[in-house]
Every structure is written in C-alpha cells, then in structure tokens.
Symmetry: C2
Subunit: 227 residues, 2 copies
Amino acid sequence: MSASGVRARVRAEMTEEIKTVARRHLASDGANLSLRAVARDVGMASSAVYRYFASRDDLLTALIIEAYDSVGSAAEAAMAKPADTDADRLLVLSHAVRDWALADPHQWALIYGSPVPGYQAPQDTIGPATRVIFAIAKIVQEAFTAGRVVPVPEPTGRYAEELAAVAEQFGPGTPPRLVGSAMSAYFQLNGAVSAELFGQLNQTVEDDRRGFFEFQMRGAVAFIGLT
Amino acid sequence: MSASGVRARVRAEMTEEIKTVARRHLASDGANLSLRAVARDVGMASSAVYRYFASRDDLLTALIIEAYDSVGSAAEAAMAKPADTDADRLLVLSHAVRDWALADPHQWALIYGSPVPGYQAPQDTIGPATRVIFAIAKIVQEAFTAGRVVPVPEPTGRYAEELAAVAEQFGPGTPPRLVGSAMSAYFQLNGAVSAELFGQLNQTVEDDRRGFFEFQMRGAVAFIGLT
DNA sequence: AAAATGCAAGAGCAGTGCTCTCGCTATGGC
DNA sequence: GCCATAGCGAGAGCACTGCTCTTGCATTTT
C-alpha cells in the first residue's frame, strides 16, 4: 500500500542514518573508517549494512558526493553575496572554501587528498566535483563579459586547445584563457588549503594563517587579471 | 669480534631489504601496504619484521624520510644546473619535482597527500621535508641579493612577523617577503602537482599536462618577481 | 666455557571487509 | 483475504590485518 511504500521510506531513513554515523566516524578516524564500527553505532549487524551499500567504497562514495555538494554550495553561497569588486568576490569565495575545510578537515582530505588506493571515482562524483570551479569560472566570466579583466598572458601550445574544448561548455565564444585562469585560481586555492591542512605550514606560519592565506589568494587573483 | 660486528651489518642489510620491498608494495598498494605481505615477500615471519621496525607506522616513517630525501635531492640537482635566468632555474626545479612525482605517484601521495589518520610525523621527518622549499628559497635569495628581483607586494599583518622569524633561519637581514615568495611558489608547485596526480585534471587537460603545468608555474614565478 | 643478548618463528588476540545462509515481515497480485 | 515474493536483519564464517608473547636457536660477550 501507500504507493510510495512505507518500506521505501524507512529504507531512505536508514540509508541516511548510516551516512550520518559514517560522517561522524569520518571526522575522527578519517578515510579508513570501519564499516563494522559504523554498523555497531547504528545498532545493527555489519552484514545488514550491505543491504544499503554494496561495499565500503560505495559508502565512501556517498560521503564523497555529499562532501563535494557541501563545499560546492558553500562556494556558491559565497559567490552570490554582493561584493565591491570581482577580486573581492573571489576572495570571499576562497575564504568560504577554506572555512569549510577547516571546519571538517577529514571531509576535505576525502575529496582533495590523496585518493584511497584502489579506489576509482565513479561517474556520479564528477558532477558535484565541478561545482566549486564552476563558481570560480562564473566569476571570471562575468568579469570578462563586463570588460573588467586586465589582460593576461594568453595560453599557447597544445594544452590551450584542450582548454578551448572545455571552454565550449561555458557557452560558445568563451576564450580559453578564461578557463585557464579559473583553473589556476582553483588549483592555487586547493593547494593553499591543502598545504595548511596537511601540515606543510607547521612551525612556520602558526598564528595568522588566515592572513597568509589571503596574501596567497590575492596573488592568485591578481595573476588572472581580476581587479 | 669485528668491532662493528657482523650482526650489525646483516641487520643493516635486512633493514634495507625490508624497506626496498616495502617501497615496491607502496608503488602498487599505496599507503595501506600490509606489513604481513611485505614480510612474506622478504621471506620471513611477520613477527620478525618487528625486530627492525617497531610498528607499521615506523616503517612508513622510514619510507617518508626516504621520499623526502629523494625529491629533495632531485630538486637540488635541478637547481644546481646552469640556467639563463632565475625564472628558468625555478622552472627547471619545478619540472624536476613534477617528473619525480609522476615517476612514483604513491611516494608523492605519501608525503604531500592527506596524512594517514592517526599518524603524527615524528621529528626525524622535518629535516628532509624542508629540502625542496629550501632549494626554492635559495634561488629566490640569490636573485634578491644580486638585485634581480622585481618589486612585489610586501606582506603585511601578523603573519608577516611569523615570516620574519622564519627568515632569520636563512641568515640575518633576509627580508620576510622573500620567505613569503618562496612559500607561495612552493605551495603553488605542490598544488599543481597534486591536482594533476590526484585526478583533478581528468577530462579537461589530458594530453599536454606538462605544458599546462609550465603555464601555471610561469605565473607563480612571475608573481614572486623572478625574471 | 658460560652467560647474556639478538633474532626468527609460531601461536594467538582482536579487529577488518565481505559472503552466505537462515528466518522473519512487509509488500503486491490474485 | 490469502499467498507467493521480495526485502531485510542477524549470525556464522572466511581470509586477512597489526601486533604481542613465548619458545628455541645462534651469536656475541664476559
């Protein structure tokens, strides 16, 4: 009865509870969380979990997708805020991403850290994975179409053609260097956050890491011609 | 007899063989290599390995130190090569680091990827860990003392003081922004390599990743004022 | 020569991912 | 309303993991 079915609903709830508990374990144990331990916390046999997730990797994949979506919406929300300049808008986005990462380092490590050996990201993850860089690209594109981008060295060589192909996804006529700029900013953002989170800053910059991060990102923003 | 002792020598050889086999396993299984499997390959009981390494983490630490030293000497060798300009010298170093990473991605992941949960880097690792950034800093410093560095925005704020403290390690009178510049270049280098290795470039730049890497690093080099 | 030390092997413990089988219960067709 | 079906939970079990402890042996030191 009940066309959608009671069964389907409790299944959805159960799936959600497992993910919630798993996320909690992720925060303490990192990517090598134990499926059995999660099952214990949920209060069921470990074998029962396999009714909801085909494997531990499947469970991790679900968490990865959620993490991508989470940081993606954080970035999009920051981008949507009013800002005086394009540079400010990108800086606000950068801080939003950094704040998200600091709030849950293991989730950051899960999606931007070294991939789990043997784990191959399934197709479902590539959509959510692109949200942050799309947000950055949108900022750059809007600045460009409004004629507010300072000229910047044009990419040349074979990779420039590959960038051109990607640029088509943003609408025809998008200049390749725009994609290159967005990717530069994106990778510098990721590099700065990862360096901070993975301990590369230890015993150098300890107190004012936020300030140092902003210094770095200001450089990145200037490099791609945003003012 | 034999003051140093035969025992000590075979022990050193055994230690080396375990590390060699472990490095081979690292290349295929990544950071979650199995100590038992390594022991099997070496041809001894797993319990015997504990005579040489107190724990699996200890074995990993040994591999981490070796990896840091390996990439460090690669960077230093590249820096020592004759180059027309400071920018070229830093670019050559960058390519050397990238080539090293591409040759053995798991070793890169081991030292620059997400830290193994629960693993705390012991004191022995921080020395070798700094070799690459020291090489970069040396390039920047030499260019600076020779007066070949284009003026660059001076860091301000609390983190600038922390940079100043680090700068003292490079000799008195070293300007803080020099350290900031070296770190910027270093993190951008790491970010670019990690992005490429950890799959962030998938389905965008596929063929000419080397060219794209150079494009990014040229930006980084220009940003810190090297010509 | 005797005592002390270093080493390797084996058994064993607690934990892991995952599979399979067994009952039970809610669901959908008649 | 009845009944076959399909989904679900639990338990046992397999092969594996890191690590510890004990036992026997070889080597080194006294």
